[in-house]
Amino acid sequence: MPNAIETNGLVKRFGATRALDGVDLRIREASVYGLLGPNGAGKTTTIRILATLLRPDAGTATVLGHDVVREARAVRQQVSLTGQYASVDEDLTGYENLVLVARLLGLGWRAARDRAAELLEAFALTDAAGRQVQTYSGGMRRRIDIAASLVAIPRILFLDEPTTGLDPRSRNQVWELVRRIAAEGTTVLLTTQYLDEADRLAQRLAVIDHGRVIAEGTSRELKASVGANALHVRLASADQRERTLQVIERVLGNGVLPAADSMEVAARLENPAQAATILAALTEGGVEVAGFSVGNPSLDEVFLALTGRPADGEAPETKT
């Protein structure tokens, strides 16, 4: 199958900053692909170039075989973008917004009204159809915004941080929507700072940091690159962190993973049996353990392992 999206050495500068510093992507059609990275990593810039809103300073990008600069119109004909901020007119009602987009996409008035009504129903917004979007809750705004992107079903849907700022229930709704859209054959490229979001939705993902792809693969592959078995020890009190680290290092030699949370210690295990030894050693050493688990490393840990700092872009934590 050909690639739906292909970029080669994309570079984008904003003044002195290099927002993108050579991004290469290969995204297959009919999949959900995640761009994962902290704020300012270059995720939005990548999406804006692919949606023809920005021109790259160097490198090339093709969307469904069309060059995003030279054949921008052909690209626009096949893609939809839902930006980070609701790109709908807040003064208009939800219904009017959808009719507006439908008309601009070339539907006749009647067809536009019908499409708007059925989308509102599908997005559980019929009751709010006649209200101005500015009265909508965050979750409703997101839904109307995604609905506007589906007025004509695109072959590729760009979703820029689709769940940022949403409550857990609205987030679940958006996830459910993304799955359904993808199930119908639309390729979804989404950006996210939430590692569990990428983990749940995307078949493949690229981890972006400082304008570069630092890792690419399925979430399973990325996790495996960090180590198949990860131990998580949740502490009852942060005071005992030091002691816990000593115990683990004594058993494992090394393998302690940097953690973003002071109440937690994570480590890579060579085999799961080591967990029992560690638990015994901790109990013996008088460490009060609030939680203890062995499993795949979380994408948080993947990110830490790849960049040496937590995904939220804070300074690297010094290992003790």
Binding site: R55, S87, D89, L100, L104, E121, L150, A152, R169
Partner: protein, 275 residues
Amino acid sequence: MISDALPTGERTHQLLTMRARPTPASAPSAVATLGWRAMLKIKHVPFQLFDVTVMPIMFTLLFTFIFGGALAGTPREYVQYLLPGVLVQTIVFITVYTGMGLNADIQKGLYDRFRSLPMWQPSPLFGALAGDVFRYSVASVLIIVMGLILGFRPQGGVVGVLLATALVLTFGFALSWLWIIVGMLVRTPESVMTTSFIFLMPLTFASDIFVDLSTMPGWLQTIVGRNPVTYLANASRNLMHGQDALADVGWVLAASAGIVLVASPIAMRLYRKER
């Protein structure tokens, strides 16, 4: 049961199934649709019309009754001179809203959606302008009706008034392009207002909208006499009162054409350029 749960099943499946995308709207159709959007905005936010109605009414009343006696003998005589000028002043001022509206749309991300649609790219600009010209027209009608109530008696009759209004609208349309540029360059709608008022205040007050040129000191006459707004005020006064306005009208049309020729390519360039 949660009321906003997403419906499932065959219905949703049909909705999300890929169909051939329609042929995108033609340029005129896209512009008309975006003009429709501007009308909807007026419907939902009628406050937008507040400025274009209350300000000119206030200005006309204040100037007519406070200065009218002093400037022209009686308020009724003064309103004959003032009214075409108030029309000019109002329209020139409200052109700023074009830039403010555009700026707000860009900041909110709405233009990201517009620009990612497969339509003629400048459609949103022209759609917004169409809506603005409608607002200017509403303001013009209101001002003229109020003038008639206050005793304004245009000697040029209906034709003269219509011609004058058309001329003012033309100039307003041209001027809007300047604020479109400002709207794309600055960060907030408020900065659009502040920036443009720096130009608009002297442009409208250093003109002969309120008082005749001959009452001003010589050096000021030189400046005021070259102000395009003075030409516009003169032209609309003369048209409304059925006097020869050919030279002034020519000047205004030339100035409008000049502004559009210079400003619109810059505006388009900025529009196409990324943000």
